[in-house]
């Protein structure tokens, strides 16, 4: 039994930490730690910096530009990003689309798309959910009809995160509506968002922010060469992607940073003349979150250790990291807002010096983070996964 990182792993951690301290632009870090949305330029700028260092796609095979790091190093890398307030690259291109291309793509597709994803030349987004297909993804209705060397796509996607930044979108579409099982009529298509017939409409969330969108497809022409894997085999691709890389979903590093920020805030705010941090009611709630986070960090490391020993992917029970990780993130945003008390009420930061712009972001942040237990497989779906796959229920 040894709970510590090895000297080599600690050296690696220090290397990542040092590099981030020297290379993460302060403006981007301040946006992350100040809870402001990143612009497309921010995303691309950070992507280019990482690509120049050779760190934009650590988990890829080395021949395509991966770093060859083991799972522990990749975990450390993610955690250090969270601790430093460095944004993770949007996962849609580097993690999701690339994983699919590496596993199912043709050589031509790999050559065409992977280098541009690695270098941050194209911003990718995901076209999965539809108004009638959320957790029940196989109910999707967006149609792609084959016309010679093209598909004609009609339908609607929803919850398209950063869809307004998108250059390309990967979509699940229905190519056979007569298939006996509805999973058997689905295909995986890559679509250039500049194609005529695509409309992106913002969905403003309750924090007032523009993060997600609806994407409408109206007779959009997509070349057949943009089909990944076989026609009507898209569900195989989708399932592969859903099971991919869930180790980081606990977000331990960024929650540690948030916890530290919460303590600073709660030490500054007063209750009955004493720092709120020393108020028993508040402190007990904070401590329970802190303990749950400590536990989650060790649980994550136990998963890493199991993966290292067995050489196997994490298994269905890794869903617990997503469940507890998002619960912790939500609890922290709620405590932050509560720590600010009445000052959390101004909705928009104003420039007259009366409103602390940091504090005024706390309520919207709390609102925004309700998403975490809904997205990426709702926590109820994660519990279904553990119930079925781990407990055999």
């Amino acid at each position: 039994m040894d709970l510590n990182y090895s000297p080599e792993e600690l050296a690696f951690r220090d290397e990542v930490r040092g590099w981030l301290a020297a290379n993460l632009p302060a403006e981007i870090r301040d946006k992350v730690t100040g809870y402001r949305h990143l612009s497309k330029d921010d995303h691309l700028r950070w992507h280019k910096i990482l690509a120049a260092k050779g760190w934009s796609v650590p988990h890829w095979p080395v021949e395509w530009g991966g770093t060859g790091w083991n799972i522990t190093q990749r975990y450390i890398y993610d955690e250090e990003f969270g601790l430093a307030g460095a944004p993770m690259l949007a996962p849609f291109g580097p993690s999701m689309c690339a994983s699919v291309l590496l596993r199912f793509g043709s050589d031509a597709q790999k050559q065409r798309f992977l280098p541009r994803i690695r270098e941050g030349d194209d911003f990718w987004v995901q076209g999965y959910s539809e108004p009638g297909a959320g957790s029940d993804l196989a109910a999707l209705k967006t149609r792609a009809e084959r016309r010679g060397d093209h598909y004609i796509v009609n339908g609607q996607k929803i919850w398209t995160t950063l869809g307004h930044y998108g250059d390309w979108i990967f979509c699940l579409v229905r190519t056979d509506s007569a298939a006996e099982k509805r999973q058997e009529g689905i295909s995986f298509l890559l679509i250039d968002m500049k194609t005529p017939g695509i409309t992106v409409r913002p969905l403003i969330l309750m924090d007032g922010g523009h993060e997600v969108n609806e994407v409408f497809f109206d007779d959009v022409k997509v070349p057949v060469e943009n089909l990944v894997y076989e026609e009507n085999k898209g569900w195989t691709v989708a399932k592969y992607l859903l099971g991919h890389e869930r180790m980081g979903s606990g977000a331990v590093g960024s929650s540690k940073r948030e916890l530290a920020a919460l303590k600073v805030l709660a030490a500054r705010e007063k209750r009955n003349g004493k720092p709120l941090l020393e108020d028993t009611r508040f402190r007990d709630r904070l401590t329970r979150v802190e303990v749950e986070l400590d536990a989650l960090e060790l649980t994550s490391m136990r998963f890493l250790d199991r993966m290292r020993r067995t050489g196997q992917p994490p298994g269905a029970d890794v869903s617990m990291l997503k469940i507890r990780g998002t619960e912790i993130q939500q609890a922290l945003t709620e405590l932050m807002m509560q720590a600010a008390g009445p000052q959390a009420q101004p909705f928009v930061a104003v420039d007259d010096g009366q409103v602390d712009p940091y504090v005024s972001r706390l309520s919207p942040r709390y609102f925004n983070y309700r998403k975490t237990s809904i997205y990426a497989g709702s926590n109820e779906i994660q519990r279904n996964i553990i119930a079925k796959m781990t407990l055999g229920l």
Partner: protein, 372 residues
């Protein structure tokens, strides 16, 4: 990084489980509880034979030089089987404290019998009405002649009715001291009983108990840090015991969900129950992580604040998880979970006791917050 038990640890835990399955099954345990002694001399002797009493004692004293990490799988097995023998109090609390605080002569006089199992040791430190306070409020020892005179009261001393020697904390002047006493000495009164989870315990009264100079453990007035460390060590072991009990609660509840039928189907098919089972499972895994952390920190010889933080954090998580898991396990069993006939009701009582012993969640929330 390595979270595996060593082969040696695993083998020991396996042979202990094998023994418990054969000699300490649910029905056999019931017979032990109903016996006059309320404990099993045979099980105790076997534990000693297996070396469980020696694990956490220094090699110089005839022990194996291990710590809480080595005892963790042992305690898990005890938690699964709901062992009522005072192994934790003997091994984790009293004998280890004696080894750390005692003189060479005291160790030589008492530890061989503690290791071979012929004498049970336990620690009396809690006092009536003082909850988890480590500083004695009513028990005092005053110097008289070359020795001491002990007065006061202790409560819920687990293992006391079986013990050959008691370690007793007492106030001496401004400080806290530890004494070894014979429970049969003149002036000592035992009020023995069974705890709600079936362990033998007693409340004690000391009325002018005369002790020799050699009864004092370590230096007079300086025992508080030792006591604090000892209780932390025992708390870490108790966390492991809780993991074993929760593991059992989950396994038996899962099994019940899959076999119990209502409305013509196994109740496992109901999502309302599935998600609750998943929560029990996650609570247990998170608690296990904290139990591992506590065990490794009490072994690592880290500064007191770091050890206290890990142990209190673990106890907060374990107390919350034990409450959640035990309550849900009974609920998911329905009426049968309420009966003495199923082991789960006994596991419920064990997990409830664990939540209250060595500081409840509120106690540890306060200590944790005090560490900054």
């Amino acid at each position: 990084m390595n979270f595996e038990y060593s082969d040696e640890q695993q083998q020991l835990a396996d042979s202990l489980r094998k023994y418990l399955a054969q000699a300490y099954g649910f029905e056999q345990r019931k017979a032990i509880l109903q016996s006059a002694a309320g404990s099993s001399a045979q099980a105790w002797a076997t534990f000693a034979e297996m070396g469980l009493t020696a694990i956490a004692l220094p090699e110089a004293d005839g022990g194996f030089g291990g710590g809480a990490v080595e005892l963790m799988p042992v305690m898990e097995a005890c938690g699964e089987a709901l062992v009522v023998e005072p192994l934790l109090d003997h091994v984790g609390l009293a004998a280890r404290l004696l080894a750390r605080a005692g003189s060479e002569a005291q160790r030589a006089a008492l530890l061989p019998a503690a290791i071979d199992g012929s004498s049970v040791l336990t620690l009396a430190y809690l006092e009536p009405g003082q909850r988890y306070e480590l500083v004695p409020q009513t028990t005092t020892a005053r110097a008289e002649g070359s020795g001491w005179v002990l007065n006061g009261a202790k409560c819920v001393v687990v293992g006391a009715p079986l013990a050959a020697r008691l370690l007793v904390s007492a106030r001496t002047g401004d400080g806290v001291s530890l004494f070894v006493i014979d429970p049969r000495a003149a002036g000592v009164t035992l009020n023995p009983y069974r705890t709600v989870d079936g362990q033998r315990a007693a409340d004690l009264r000391f009325a002018g108990v005369r002790l020799g100079a050699d009864a004092l453990l370590g230096r007079a007035g300086e025992a508080l840090p030792l006591l604090d460390e000892a209780v932390d060590f025992a708390t870490a072991l108790q966390c492991a015991d809780a993991i074993g009990a929760m593991q059992y609660a989950n396994e038996t509840t899962l099994d019940y969900l899959k076999t119990r039928k209502q409305f013509g189907v196994p109740i496992a098919s109901f999502q309302a129950l599935q998600h609750r089972m998943v929560e029990m499972f996650i609570h247990t895994e998170q608690a296990r992580s904290m139990a591992i952390l506590a065990a490794s920190k009490v072994d690592a010889g880290v500064p007191a604040a770091e050890r206290q933080r890990a142990v209190s954090g673990a106890k907060i998580k374990i107390a919350d998880a034990a409450r959640h898991v035990s309550q849900e396990a009974v609920q998911l069993h329905g009426g049968m979970g309420m009966t003495e006939e199923l082991k789960i009701s006994h596991t419920f009582r064990r997990l409830t006791t664990i939540g209250q012993r060595f500081g409840d969640a509120d106690h540890h929330l306060q200590r944790y917050a005090g560490l900054g």
